[in-house]
Chain length 412, copies 2
């Protein structure tokens, strides 16, 4: 039921010099599916990430953070990333940590590097121990098929409840030098800002200094993966990783330089595309909804109101039904927690249709106009608060019978 | 699909001296259903309420607040409450306010009192103007059948998506004097703390001084109607009203007196019953879930975590499926926003089954034990935070296909 989600074409996913990808069918949870991915990096690569803020953050997330922190303190480089689906290795205590570390050790052994040079990622069921022996057994197979043009297979290998792989690619020229960017993402439920059962990996062949990449990944996440919500559930495992392999000519060594700004814009644009793909494939989604809140006093209050609309089950079911029951949007604005909001100044638009004006129904609003927009598969909700100049946009989807079916059946 | 919700028996709903109830079929939205209720009070009655915190609070809520504030400033008494279903008179601007005032004026005229002595309530669709002429036309019919033993009809007259009327009654003896309490409630969706498309009216024949009743209604709401959630949507119209008619011998003039404490306990108990009825009749509910969070540093953080669990669509769909996918509960605890939570000290129980211990899966936990509890229609989730002595309890329900159907079809 994905909404206008393009199926990636393998041939259009450009290899990024300096990163090879290999996959395996390790049988983590189910047989005969790609569930293990290794991404091997050139020694010149820099890597930076943002991770879930969930207090129950998964063992692999803890290990990733420790390895990146060690790299920040002592120098060195990340040589590979390893991702398994089928098991999140979350809520698994010390055994879980030991298993995440054992995965790193096994891969390091095969690649001839230190375990601290490996970043592990897991996604799947929570509260069950990782079948680490099956993962270790699958690693040689993944290493055997390492290739630079394996992005489509990589996108498949990280899928869970996703209905299709998510990947995109582009080439930009910055300061006269060509840069290739290719990314993959996964996630369809438990999607919320900061973040989702969401994995995103974006590689580019530019050379980006480590502190510069760390700055860029946060900036990009705030404009892309942190702007999507499906069901308001923030997962234990979310990670968005930015990889700069250093194989191309472009070097970016300074935050705010013209090269930085152009590269960050290109990365943001591709990341938005990858993030929106997650919403388009939202569990049971039949509509893709953009919520824009304008004229606020701060970006924070605009985001608060946008998320209140995006999370409301009543709003989401109204979209599912194509029912212009738009009072539900006003109610969600009202309980968003912006305590001094003067609703008398508020306007609401549905695409080009002016629904509410100065806090009440627009006298010129006609139900059939609202109905027309609600029937579309892509809809923009625009709220004008009339109290400032700040704005924020998020992307979300509707709530359907299918969402309930998927999540009621997920483990069976 | 209500969960263990007792159908009230009209004969068991005790009249409360000093309050008469009358209803009409005014055709506000649909024909041939009770949709208008008048509650006429003795001149000795005191009335206090708590209202939605939604910034888009409905016109009748604004009028109620103004009339109660006027009473607080200038003295006087409320003589009647009037409730319509079918239209919430919310998001209706100045016209909505004029319509709510016109309803009060019409009833005041018929009862021979001032409009400011009337409290109006509306529930139903938002963003449509109230058909005030139909309401005015229905008032004489409601007044014509005013009776003290009309509580069952009153409970029916305030229903919207409720599957059955909600009412309860009890008699207590305080300081040797008998007090009768009878209440009705409505609401099945848009249910959240502070509050729900939730109307609750509880009358008793004790005489309670106005400031004392105002204190009591807040205290009671915090332990009853503010502890329930169905879908996290706070409505524009929620109101919980406490009425003390003053017809019985018991007088309560002091907050904290023994009489106050006993009466408040009785009112709390009945209010909890009425509030839980709303959850039991939650839209599409198949399970009644009690979430208790203990050993917190503050009641606030316990409530935060309890609501995070209670609002998670993934947790709610797992309950619907009777699937002990209990990692979803840990994830919801982790993203509740208690930033310094040490999950390593956390225990999780499902009824008597110890699921997670020190933040990880309890080694003794068996899936079949979790499965057994998940199949029950009433389940208690107990979280021990291991960091203090505060506790909080909320009541909620699961998320089913039926919830989506009800809310996708609500207006059709």
């Amino acid at each position: 039921m994905a909404v206008n989600l393009p199926l990636p074409v393998a041939a259009n996913l450009k290899p990024v010099a300096g990163i090879e990808l290999g996959y395996a069918e390790a049988g983590v949870r189910k047989a005969d599916r790609k569930d293990l991915l290794v991404m091997k990096l050139a020694p010149t690569a820099s890597v930076a990430g943002v991770f879930t803020k969930n207090r129950f953050c998964a063992a692999p997330v803890q290990v990733c953070k420790a390895h990146l922190e060690g790299l920040r303190m002592a120098g060195g480089s990340i040589r590979a990333l390893v991702v398994n689906t089928g098991n999140a290795n979350a809520g698994t205590g010390d055994t879980g940590l030991a298993n995440a570390n054992a995965t790193c050790a096994a891969l390091a052994d095969l690649l001839g590097c230190e375990p601290s040079q490996i970043l592990p990622f897991s996604t799947g069921v929570i509260l069950e121990q990782l079948p680490v022996d099956r993962i270790k057994a699958g690693l040689p197979q993944a290493i055997a098929n390492l290739k630079t043009d394996n992005w489509y297979n990589a996108a498949q290998a990280i899928m869970t409840t996703d209905t299709q792989p998510k990947a995109a690619s582009r080439t930009v020229t910055i300061a006269g030098k060509a840069v290739t960017l290719t990314g993959i993402s996964k996630g369809a439920g438990m999607i919320k800002p900061n973040m989702a059962t969401m994995l995103g990996f974006l590689a580019m062949d530019a050379r980006v200094a480590q502190p510069v990449l760390e700055h860029m990944v946060k900036e990009v996440a705030d404009k892309s993966f942190n702007c999507i919500t499906i069901d308001g559930d923030t997962s234990t495992n979310d990670s968005f990783m930015l990889i700069a392999t250093g194989a191309a000519a472009l070097e970016v060594n300074e935050i705010g330089s013209p090269e930085y700004t152009e590269l960050s814009a290109a990365v943001t644009s591709l990341s938005q595309e990858l993030a929106q793909m997650i919403v388009r494939d939202g569990e049971g989604a039949t509509k893709f909804i953009t919520v824009t809140v304008e004229e606020g006093m701060s970006v924070e209050e605009c985001r608060k109101i946008a998320y209140s609309i995006g999370h409301s089950p009543l709003v989401k079911t109204a979209f599912y039904a194509s029912d212009p029951n738009l009072g539900r949007i006003l109610a969600a604005i009202g309980y968003a927690g912006v305590d001094d909001l003067d609703v008398g100044k508020l306007d609401l638009y549905l695409d080009d249709v002016w629904v509410a004006r100065s806090g009440g129904r627009n006298p010129d609003y006609k139900e059939e106009d609202g109905q027309r927009v609600m029937k579309q598969s892509e809809i923009t909700v625009r709220v004008k608060l009339g109290r400032g100049t700040a704005a924020a946009t998020i992307w979300t989807c509707d709530l359907s019978h299918e969402y309930v079916s998927i999540n009621a059946d997920y483990r069976s």
